[in-house]
Point group: C2
Chain length 515, copies 2
Amino acid sequence: MSDTAVAGRRGRSGGGAARRAERTAVHIDKAPAITRAIPNFELLSEDVLATIEANAETVLEEIGVNFVNNPAALDRWREAGADVQGERVHIPRGLARRLCETAPSSFIQHARNPANSVEIGGKGLVLAPVYGPPFVRDAEGGRRYATMEDFRTFVKLGHMSKWLHHSGGTVCEPTDVPVNKRHLDMIHAHMTLTDKPFMGSVTEPSRAQDSVDMCKILFGEEFATTNTVMTSLININSPLTFDDTMMGALEVYAANMQATIISPFIVGGAMAPVSVMGTLTQVLAEVLAGIAYAQLVRPGAPVIFGAFVTSIDMNSGAPTFGTPEASQILYGAGQLARRMNLPFRSGGGLCGSKLPDAQAAYETANTLNAALLGGVNFMLHACGWLEGGLVSSFEKFVMDADQLGTLHKMAAGVAADENAQGMDAIREVGPGGHYLGCAHTQANFKTAFWKSDLLDYKPFETWDEEGARDTQTLASARVAKLLEQYRAPDLDPAIAEALAAFVAGRKAAMPDAFM
Amino acid sequence: MSDTAVAGRRGRSGGGAARRAERTAVHIDKAPAITRAIPNFELLSEDVLATIEANAETVLEEIGVNFVNNPAALDRWREAGADVQGERVHIPRGLARRLCETAPSSFIQHARNPANSVEIGGKGLVLAPVYGPPFVRDAEGGRRYATMEDFRTFVKLGHMSKWLHHSGGTVCEPTDVPVNKRHLDMIHAHMTLTDKPFMGSVTEPSRAQDSVDMCKILFGEEFATTNTVMTSLININSPLTFDDTMMGALEVYAANMQATIISPFIVGGAMAPVSVMGTLTQVLAEVLAGIAYAQLVRPGAPVIFGAFVTSIDMNSGAPTFGTPEASQILYGAGQLARRMNLPFRSGGGLCGSKLPDAQAAYETANTLNAALLGGVNFMLHACGWLEGGLVSSFEKFVMDADQLGTLHKMAAGVAADENAQGMDAIREVGPGGHYLGCAHTQANFKTAFWKSDLLDYKPFETWDEEGARDTQTLASARVAKLLEQYRAPDLDPAIAEALAAFVAGRKAAMPDAFM
C-alpha cells in the first residue's frame, strides 16, 4: 500500500556530514492517493436536494449576490445575461448552473516531484493540513503567536507525514514577517522544504500574481501556465457577498489555469440561516455564483465546490465543530457537489478545544468520519487544527496525521477474493482453535490491519513504567523524532537561487506593512 | 426533543430535609428513544454479502460448531435435523437460518417505569453503558479494582444521563463481593437506584434464574414471565464454540421469554481469520447457530444479532479499537443482521487507551460514528469504557454520554419543511447581513443545534482564567455535580423490602466463593 523513498540529503553537507547522513538515512513512507472503493453516504433524499436546488436558484434570481468594488466583474455578469443593479447581481434561473458546466469534474494538481501530483475530484480524497491560524501551540511552550520558523516546522512535518498528500497553504500565519511580504516566505517554504503540492496566496491580487510568478520559476513558465500547479482558497463573505480582494485573487488564478476552492465560510446561525436546509440553500447559491464567475473569467478553469460550515454555541456565540449539524451540512453539500459533477472540499480535523485533548479528538474524529463518507475530494485542515482555527498545534498535527491513515484504509474497501474469504483458515483452525499461528494469518498479518505510528497499545504495566504518557506526550516525542529525521528534498540549485532572488527582489521593492 | 421529570426524593427525608430537597429539586432531562430517520451506510455489495452467507452455511455444515458439556443441547440439535458427532454439531445448509425465522424482528424491553421501556430492533438505537471491567479509574484516585460502591455510582450516573436509555448490566465487576453473590447486589442496584431497563446475570444458569426471580418480585410474576424485562449478554467462545455456562444462562432466559444478545466475542486474527470477510463469515455462522439454538429452546424468544469484534496489534497481540477494520466488520455485520430481519448489537465507546485522552476519544468517536451509520439497534459499552474494557472510567462515562447526544441528533435527520428551508430568513437578511437577530433565528435557535453539557466553547482568555481545564478535568466536575443532584426514583416499599429479603436469603443460603 505504500512506496518508500530515501529522504534526500542537504546538498551543502560536507564529507563527514554526508557520511553521517548516510548512516542515519531515513526512509520516508508515502502512501498513494486515496481512491474510494466504498459508497458515499447519501443523507438527503432526491426530493430534498431538488428543493434546495430550486431554492438556491430563487436566491440568485430574486435576492442576488453582491460583487463589491469590482466593476469588471459586474460587466462580466451583465454580458453573461445577469440583471445588475448597483453592485447587486441578479442571476436568472439556470444561468449560473449552465456557466458552471465548463468547470472540469476533476483535475491534476502537479507537484514538483511528479510522484506527489494529485488528482482532485471523482472518487479521490486529497489530504492537506491546517490553514490560517495566527497562533501555534505545543506542550512545552503553550500558546503563542506564530512565526515563520513555526511555519517551516509545519511544512517539514507535512513533508514527513505518510498519509498527507498536500503541503497546504498558510499552515500558520507567520506574524513576525510583514503582512505584505509573508506570502513570499510562505510560498518559498512550500517550494523548497517539501516536494508535495501546495496552495497560493489569496490575500491580495498582487500576492496571487507573486505566487504564479514563483511557480513559473519552479515549474518553468510554459508548464506553470498550461498546467495546474496550485490550488488556492477563495472564501466567500457569506451571506452572498464576493469582495474585491478574494475575487481579484480568483481572477489571477483562473486566468492562469490555477485551481481555486470557492468556499462559503459560514458560522451557522450567524452568516446563514440557523437551519441545515437553509444553510445548504445559501451555500449552493454562493458556490453557483462563485464558480460561474470563475468560468466567466476563464472557461475551463479548475475549481472546487467548497463548504466550510460550523455550527454555533448560542450561549456564547462561539463556533462549534464536530457537531451533528456540521456533519449534516457536510453530507448534504457533498451530494449537491456531486450533482454538479464538481470536486468537493469540506471537513478536516476541526475542533473547538483549546488543547489536543479528548474534546479535540471527539470533534476531529466526528468531522473526519463525515468527510470520508460524505465524499470530500479535497480536505483542508486535515491535521493540526486547534481552538476553532485560531491555533496550529504541533502535537495535534501528528495526532491527526496518524488518524488520517484510518481514512486511507477505510476508503480502500473490503477485499473479497478467495484469500480474503479465509475459508481455508476457518477449516484449518476449527471450533475452539486459535488463528494466530495458522497459515492464512501468517500470510496476511502484515497488511491486514491499519497500524498506528503514535497510539499506545502496550500492557498497562509497561505503559505505567514508561511514564503513563497521554496522547499529547506521545505526540511531542513524535514531533521531535520527525523533525530530527527530516531532510529537505533535492532541488536544482539554479532554481533555488532564482527563487531566493525573486523573494529578495520583491521584498526590496516594498516597504514593510503590518496591517 | 426531551421530556422532563422532577427527580423523586428519598422517602426517608424528614420535614426540613424534604423542604431543602424541594428547593434543590433537580430536573432530570430524558431524551426519547432514537428512531433513525436517516439511511444506513451499506458498505458491502449484494454479491459480497451473498458470498459470506453461502460461506457461513458451508462452515455450519462442513466444519460444524461445538456445544460443550451440554447433552440436552445436542439432543435438541439432533431432533431438529443436525448431524451430531460427539459434541460437534453439523448443521445442514439452510437449517439454522430457517430456525432463526421464529425470532422477532424487534421487541419491547419493559422498564419498571413504563416511560423508560425501549423497543429494540427496526430503526431504533438503544444506548447502554460499559459492561464488564474489573477495574475503575478516576482522575483523583487513578486505576484500582472495582467495588460494589463503584458499581452503584455508575448506575447513578447512568440514571442521570439524558441520552442513555438503558442501565446496562455489569457496569463494573464488584470485586469486593464474593463471585457467587455479586450478581444479587448488581441486579438489586439496577432495580432500586434507577428505573431504566437493565440486563441480567449470565455467569451461571442459577444466577440467570436469580435474575428472573428478582424480576418476578419487581414486575410481578405474571408480567415478568410473559413480557421481556431483561436483555442479557451471551458471548460465544469464538471460534465456533458454545460453552455450557453461557448456554445454560441462555436456556433460562429464552425459556422465560427474556431477551439475549448472541454475540461472538472476537479479537480479529486470534479468534477469527485475519481478514474482514473471513471474520464476517465466522460471525454469521456463530450467530446463526446461537440464535437457532435459542429458538429451539423456545420459538419466538427475543434475541439480538451480536458482533463484538476488535482488530489486533500484531506487534503486541493487544486488541485495538476504533480501527478501520473494526468499522468495516461492524458495517458488514449490520448488513447481515438486517438481511435476517433481526435486531443488531455492536459498537460502543470502544477504545484501547489507558486514559480518557485524545487516543480514547478518537477511537471512541470512530466506533460511535460507525455504530450510528451501521444500523446498530442495541449499543452496549456506549459510555465509560476504557483500556480495552479492563477499566470503567467515571470521567469517560460522562464524556461519552455527552457525545451520545450527537447520535440522537444525527439520527433525527434533517427537517425539510418550510420553516427549515429558511427562505424568509435569506430574504430578510440579504447579502452582507447578519442572521443572529433575524426572526427565523429567534424562532429556531433553541432547538437548532445539539448542545453539549460538558465541552468547553469559552473564549481562550476566560478558559485560561478558569484554570485551562482539559476535558477530563471538566468531566470530573460533571461527575461530582451529577452525583450531588442524584435522587433515587421512587419504589413501592413493599417491593423494596421483598427484593432486599430475596437478596439476603440467597446470600445466606450460599458460602462465599471468590473464584
